[in-house]
Symmetry: none
Subunit: 162 residues, 2 copies
């Protein structure tokens, strides 16, 4: 795995799209679900979807794929935030995929269509709010078939919500 140094790392800039994603299954293999949070400026989009039966690693890869397909502006820098060392490893070429070859290649080609994609590994259940949120979405999608595709606006500090 290997965590990147997080603190000293420059952010991808104000125009970057942040893609937080997580996959879950009930049992492994088992019914899978994905959770995605896309953030661009003050706008957020939440996606939850059950995606059939498969393995935990397939769920993690599928969450990344689903999130990337949501991004139209392929010229914008994208930061993929995932807790799956496996998914980041096989997509960044650090690990070689022996299983899930088709899925890995499909997502890799998707990635190749973007101008600037970076990966950011985070520890699962380490308190990062966005990671916790997509984890809950993925778990609900896998367990209850929960599905959503909602826009949302970030609160502005000091400005009361309507």
């Amino acid at each position: 795995m290997e965590s990147e140094a997080v603190a000293p790392r420059a952010s991808a800039g104000p125009d970057a799209v942040y893609l937080f994603c997580d996959g879950a299954c009930r049992g492994n293999p088992g019914p899978m679900g994905i959770g995605v949070l896309l953030r661009y400026g003050r706008a957020e989009k939440l996606i939850a979807e059950p995606i059939g039966r498969g393995t935990s690693n397939v769920a993690e890869l599928s969450a990344i794929e689903r999130g990337l397909r949501e991004i139209r502006r392929r010229d914008l820098p994208v930061v993929i935030v995932s807790d799956s060392s496996y998914a980041i490893g096989v997509l960044s070429g650090r690990l070689r995929a022996h299983a899930n070859v088709d899925l890995v290649r499909r997502v890799a080609e998707l990635i190749a269509g973007f101008k600037d994609i970076r990966f950011r590994r985070v520890r699962g259940h380490a308190g990062m709010p966005e990671n916790e949120e997509v984890d809950r979405l993925a778990v609900r999608a896998a367990a209850e078939g929960f599905r959503c595709d909602d826009l949302r606006s970030l609160p502005i500090p000091g400005v009361p919500e309507p």
Copy 2:
């Protein structure tokens, strides 16, 4: 590798130094840590150290090296207790080292300076208390940069601790 029969085996005698050691990484390769427990009579010494980035096998070899360097009395019999079939193999000459050649030679020369060194292979995570302890030390050293170098006295059965 086959496990040696543990129960019927003669111990190395009352004056032997027991060197329990383990290496760990966070990811492989990744940040490494070592854990060492030296026992001589009723005295124990615990060592934990992060040792930079490398592979699991390098960590295992380094734990042995670090433990051996702690032993002054090279005339005493030493029992190296490790769960690494690789480390014991390359150091005992049963396996041939193609990688990590410098490190292997360095530790082998260290070993050659002792009068009586034996290896004892134990299964990892099989419940042996000393192995579990050095495993935890190594993992903490790799994960959190934990470091220690402490003396400790074994409890005497029937005698309450202070």
